[in-house]
């Protein structure tokens, strides 16, 4: 039966048989670059862990020698040593990957020309080394 002349066109604006691919939950396992990105994101958890440990250490220091001895005892357990080593790896990974990305986010121009990437990234490493050196000097002197 012919439709009345006022009815909308019979075709659909969007083709019903376009193939739409499903994005797998594990999309990040397929490629090295995606895996690196996910590890970079995951490193934030270890950064948070490291911050929490540092705050607990400061609290123990403030409470007194006995509290600090208890803290040291806890930190000497194999589980905590393993966790701290893993955190250290992710902390270094976090720092390096983010420092290397700074030239993307900060476009520094001098005399009309953009500074090369390494000149934007390098100050991060210099400041990192300087602060680490200062902290090491305070602790180890």
């Amino acid at each position: 039966m012919r439709p009345p002349p006022t009815s909308p066109p019979a075709y659909t604006e969007f083709h019903p048989r376009w193939y739409r691919r499903h994005v797998s939950t594990y999309w990040w396992l397929g490629q090295r670059h995606y895996l690196k990105f996910i590890l970079r994101e995951l490193s934030s958890v270890f950064v948070a862990f490291f911050v929490a440990i540092t705050l607990l250490q400061l609290r123990a220091l403030r409470t007194g020698p006995e509290a600090y001895a208890r803290f040291q005892h806890t930190m000497k357990s194999p589980l905590m040593i393993a966790l701290c080593l893993l955190s250290l790896f992710f902390l270094v990974f976090h720092s390096i990957t983010w420092f290397n990305l700074t030239p993307r986010a900060i476009a520094v121009r001098m005399r009309g020309k953009r500074l090369p990437d390494f000149m934007v990234a390098a100050p991060n490493y210099v400041i990192w080394a300087a602060i680490s050196g200062a902290v090491a000097w305070v602790i180890l002197r």
Partner: protein
């Protein structure tokens, strides 16, 4: 003519005592999808001549000319300008006109060609782009003036340094490789996406433009710049070195600073806006 050339090439290789393990052909596995017949894409294998000067597009053209005329794909300029021949080559978003077969040659090598990820597939290697085009338009990619100048007032002058500040972001050819590389596009289809945001930033940084506030209202949003998690793949796959990831991160900083500025010194910002609106 092509056949003769291949034969003469084979002869010359034999004369030079070429090693037998270097193949004269290469296998292309091409994704095929016919909306009338297939429920999902399948791969079809084609054996094509291996020539060191051939790109993947040459191989696709060979298949269409000699082996299967029904193979459907987009292409136009053959020189990385038109941006229409983007495909996945062994899982990587590439322009098929700029990807040499020789990069994949070797013992047992195969080249797998698929349509770009995250776009609906219309047929074989052809993807549907209307959503991408709508996103491009959404960011108002044109010069916006608060008050239009009369033609009699002359052209807008721009120094080389002013041009340089946005030139990189103006090189985009809309090939959509960055969308196929961006997992956020796949996971969150409403995300405006790398090329469109880079294009917005191209106009924001243009000294002749006064529309950055209008664009920021649209893009300082979870579907805009804040949707980007800085995977950085868009920049890596961009064939024109546009650096969309850089554009988005710079836009984020600009937007955040604008927010802080408005919070701390609202009157100063109002005055700046009033000054910007005044015709020079």
């Amino acid at each position: 003519m092509g056949k003769l050339t291949i034969e003469s090439r084979k002869q010359s290789q034999n004369l030079r005592g070429k090693r037998a393990d270097v193949a004269d052909t290469i296998i292309l596995e091409v994704a095929r999808y016919s909306p009338e017949q297939d429920r999902e894409p399948r791969f079809e294998r084609f054996e094509v001549p291996f020539r060191k000067e051939w790109v993947v597009l040459d191989a696709l053209n060979y298949i269409k000319d000699k082996l299967d005329g029904s193979l459907t794909y987009r292409w136009s300029c053959r020189m990385g300008i038109c941006g229409s021949c983007g495909v996945l080559v062994n899982g990587e978003p590439k322009l098929s006109c700029a990807t040499f077969l020789s990069s994949y040659a070797g013992n047992g090598s195969r080249v797998r060609v698929e349509p770009l990820r995250y776009f609906p597939v219309v047929r074989d290697l052809v993807t549907e782009l209307s959503d991408f085009l709508a996103k491009l338009k959404k960011v108002k990619p044109w010069l916006i003036r608060k008050e239009e100048r009369l033609l009699s007032q002359g052209e807008f002058l721009q120094t080389p340094a002013q041009l340089e500040s946005y030139r990189q972001f103006s090189m985009c050819i809309n090939c959509t490789l960055c969308y196929a590389a961006c997992p956020v596009v796949g996971l969150d289809p409403v995300f405006v996406g790398p090329a469109a945001i880079a294009l917005a930033q191209r106009y924001n940084l243009d000294s002749r433009d006064q529309g950055s506030e209008a664009r920021t209202t649209l893009l300082a949003h979870p579907d805009g710049i804040w949707g980007c998690t800085f995977v950085g793949e868009c920049t890596r796959v961009c064939p024109k070195h546009v650096d969309p990831a850089g554009a988005i991160q710079q836009y984020k900083i600009q937007s955040a600073l604008g927010w802080v500025k408005a919070l701390v010194r609202p009157r100063v910002r109002d005055k700046e806006e009033a000054d910007a609106a005044t015709p020079h």
